[in-house]
Symmetry: C2
Subunit: 169 residues, 2 copies
DNA sequence: CTTTTGTTTGCTTGTGGCAAGCATCTGCCT
DNA sequence: AGGCAGATGCTTGCCACAAGCAAACAAAAG
């Protein structure tokens, strides 16, 4: 079911919007499988924790773009799985500081490397520079979309300081 | 919550994967709002019908990447709303050919133009050529991901033959 | 003491998947 | 040709589960 006309140079906004939607939809189609032992939201929380270190539940909710109650429950599940630890914030008895555990980090890396391997295989014909170029485009796209205020959500991409491949869900 | 390091030129696969994930997540964060009177899947079905003309339920399911039962139910809902029509396939009494109605087309265009306007506003600083370039990148990305077999899903981007802006949800 | 803030929990809604059921078509065997 | 078995297309019942809203609760702030 491929109906696009690649050579067509129509309205830029239109082509870009459509291309984005199709890419988004691809992710949706993939939801069931490949997100490891966690929920998509759970994996995202794991990611945020991996990148930012400790965070409060409300921060995780904001970062994942979900209701606080959802974040709270997800954290509970992750805690039961031993992937995160929750401790009362010493500075504020109301908040709980959530931190990723060693197991959580391992899980996170597992999800991560699985995704990287899949993408690497899918784009095996691409050159390194091409990937970097497209990545830059995507990053800029995301930045501008977020800054426009259309999306209330986070944008938490990062590569860890270490040389190992760690990113996220 | 922006933690990426834009200038960094790390592993191409890694940066690209992360950028893709963040963009995907943006869509997720947006789910609640802006998809008109339809379910996301419903809107997708409407889109597929708009592009391909009549289609069978199983085709819609495959195109949307959902279970046939889900597609069946969505079609029923769309039919109740008067957005599509269902008729028995003259060539095969088992299948039902689904077609978009005039009302459905109108609804579809409404969703579409809303999305286009939002993106246009968000990317108001982009030049036309930049948009086309990034769109081409996204299209290629999608194509290669789909062809790799990682995604069982559809990829239904198209612009209608008319000059009006019609694509889809 | 009242108000505000951070989190948890009960309830509801809705999408989606699996499996059973039903109708129709196809192919084989007599 | 007639007819039966299997395959195919769709529908529906049932269930799982994520997500949101609102109420409850705890702790801090004024």
């Amino acid at each position: 079911m491929q109906l696009s006309e690649p050579g067509r140079t129509g309205d830029g906004v239109e082509r870009l919007t459509l291309a984005m939607r199709d890419l988004w939809w691809l992710r949706r189609a993939r939801l069931r499988d490949a997100d490891g032992p966690c929920t998509l939201t759970g994996a995202r929380i794991l990611h945020i924790l991996h990148v930012t270190g400790a965070a409060r539940v409300s921060d995780l909710a904001a970062g994942a773009g979900v209701d606080i109650s959802v974040a709270s429950r997800q954290v509970s599940v992750l805690e039961d799985q031993g992937l995160v630890e929750k401790a009362t914030d010493p500075a504020d008895g109301r908040s709980h500081l959530v931190q990723i555990t060693a197991t959580g980090t391992t899980t996170h890396e597992g999800i991560q490397t699985g995704q990287l391997r899949a993408v690497a295989e899918a784009l095996s014909t691409w050159s390194h520079d091409e990937m970097l170029q497209v990545a830059a485009s995507l990053e800029r796209l995301r930045t501008d979309l977020v800054e426009s205020g259309l999306f209330h959500g986070s944008a938490t991409s990062a590569t860890s300081a270490t040389d190992t491949t760690k990113v996220t869900a």
